[in-house]
């Protein structure tokens, strides 16, 4: 039984020592809301009064313009940003899949990196032992797995990162789009792996600019704008409104 409950959550960022910024710049088309100054620092409200209840089985897509607060909301759900206001309660294992694979070291071999990153992602020694061969095989890097990753091409690094990231046991899966970057030969395998992973998750929260991706994976969607929830509903409902809004705004 997993759930995530956000009550009146606000996330504020204090930007130090930038007193000369004009308000018109801050209240622009994208980005958070300028809510005044505190100790001579500018405060930007990235998420404003978020109320959400997410239960086991929910597959939720997150849509919105750039700077709407999607990544911030994902990070808040991943417990990276603790709320400035409001209450956040949850139960279950939070498994974030945000853009970077943390802890990759250029001088270490691919194999060493797999071990370290898996450990940092919370896998036990037994789990790593079980999965490591699978990860190596899936990456398709062959003997390169024993070379330092500074010798890898960007595509190879992406494959390695992807193989590691998708080997986790998903619980409450929080995904920021962008983890799917890989070359053509990899894509079919990758799509299948993502399929498995997303299906195995108890809760899925996926942020994406791709309507197709969200329609494929989610049944509910949240439209975020300037840090506020504009609409929660079925994927079709939300996209109708969201697309309308975009075409009107021009």
């Amino acid at each position: 039984m997993s759930y995530l409950k956000l009550e009146k959550i606000c996330i504020d960022f204090e930007v130090q020592n930038y007193r000369q910024i004009s308000t018109s710049f801050i209240n622009g088309i994208i980005g958070g809301k300028f809510i005044g100054k505190k100790n001579k620092n500018i405060v930007i409200r990235a998420l404003d009064n978020i109320n959400l209840e997410i239960k086991t089985g929910d597959r939720i897509g997150l849509v919105g313009a750039n700077g709407a607060g999607k990544s911030t909301l994902l990070r808040t759900l991943a417990r990276v940003f603790k709320p400035s206001e409001g209450k956040f309660t949850w139960e279950g294992k939070i498994t974030p899949l945000l853009n970077q694979t943390p802890g990759m070291e250029m001088e270490d071999t691919g194999l060493e990196n797999i071990e370290i990153v898996c450990m940092l992602l919370g896998m036990s020694e037994e789990e790593i032992g079980e999965k490591i061969n699978g990860i190596v095989e899936f990456s398709g890097l062959g003997d390169f797995i024993n070379m330092p990753i500074r010798t890898y091409s960007t595509g190879m690094l992406a494959r390695l990162g992807f193989s590691i990231a998708t080997s986790i046991n998903p619980g409450i899966l929080i995904v920021d789009e962008g983890i799917g970057a890989a070359d053509a030969q990899f894509s079919e395998k990758a799509a299948k792996k993502v399929n498995e992973l997303l299906n195995a998750s108890e809760i899925l929260i996926l942020a994406s600019h791709s309507q197709h991706m969200i329609e494929q994976w989610c049944e509910k969607a949240i439209w975020l704008d300037h840090g506020k929830i504009q609409m929660i509903g079925s994927v079709t409902e939300v996209f109708t409104s969201y697309n309308n809004f975009i075409s009107i705004k021009g």
């Binding site: 960022f13 603790k82 970077q100 943390p102 070291e105 270490d108 071990e115």
Partner: protein, 264 residues
């Protein structure tokens, strides 16, 4: 507030239980440091060794001390000192070093401090090996008193931990902490009797040493290494500062833990 304190204490506790992960991380960090070098980890011993030998030659002439007495004295003080100083200097980057992980998920952030201490502990062990060779050569009497090294190391470890945690937090928040710490460490190295023996002090100036906690933290280990009985006073101060320091560090950590990820 109470909730924050509980979370902070749990953080500190998790670090200790994560020793397997810590060991793996520390080991790979050290081996990584020496990849593509031909001297490898020998560098650790060489840097300490060269510094100590050269300083000993010069200083023993300056102060009219016997080289065979001064060299072990210097090393016995330098080894715990470098442990402390390197840990505190590295603590300024403790959280930035873990930024990619801290922005990815929540975990016991004190792990970043434990990694620094673990890494420097491995280096300390390395340096102790060097010391024991020198001690043999300089005919130091290593008896039961040397067992006190365990106590000395513990006192040093705990006190270094709380100072490192406090430094790490404020160094993340304020960018001028790092240069300030560098300066303070440089001053501390000269104010604390590492390169000079306490005996050169006038009795009325003993307070300079008595009220310097660093002197006490280093002294237990130093005395043990030199085969001398350690000062109970130093142990007492070591314990008291550990307790007060840990409580202070827990309090400061509990106040700031929620904000750390906002400061990157």
């Amino acid at each position: 507030m109470k909730n924050d304190l509980i979370i902070a204490i749990n953080d500190l506790k998790s670090g200790i239980f994560e020793y397997k992960i810590l060991y793996k991380l520390c080991r790979s960090e050290i081996t990584r440091r020496y990849k593509r070098t031909f001297l490898g980890p020998l560098w650790i011993s060489i840097s300490l060794g060269m510094f100590s030998i050269i300083i000993s030659v010069v200083w023993s002439k300056l102060w009219g001390q016997n080289f065979r007495e001064y060299l072990p004295y210097l090393l016995a003080g330098m080894i715990p000192w470098t442990y402390f100083a390197t840990s505190i200097a590295e603590a300024c980057q403790a959280f930035p070093a873990g930024a990619s992980l801290m922005l990815n998920r929540e975990y016991a952030y004190t792990r970043q401090i434990y990694i620094i201490l673990g890494r420097n502990s491995i280096i300390l062990m390395h340096n102790l090996l060097v010391y024991f060779i020198v001690a043999l050569f300089c005919q130091i009497n290593l008896g039961f008193n040397t067992l006190a090294l365990i106590v000395g190391f513990l006192a040093l470890l705990v006190n270094t931990f709380w100072v490192a945690l406090v430094v790490a937090i404020y160094a993340l928040k304020y960018r001028d902490m790092a240069p300030i710490i560098t300066i303070l460490l440089q001053i501390a190295m000269f104010v604390t009797p590492i390169m000079w023996p306490v005996s050169v002090l006038n009795e009325k100036n003993y307070f300079l040493v008595d009220y310097n906690p660093l002197y006490h933290w280093i002294n237990i280990s130093k005395a043990a290494l030199l085969g001398e009985t350690f000062n109970i006073n130093s142990l007492f101060i070591g314990i008291v500062t550990s307790i007060i320091g840990i409580l202070l560090a827990i309090y400061i950590y509990s106040l700031n833990r929620k904000k750390l990820t906002y400061w990157f």
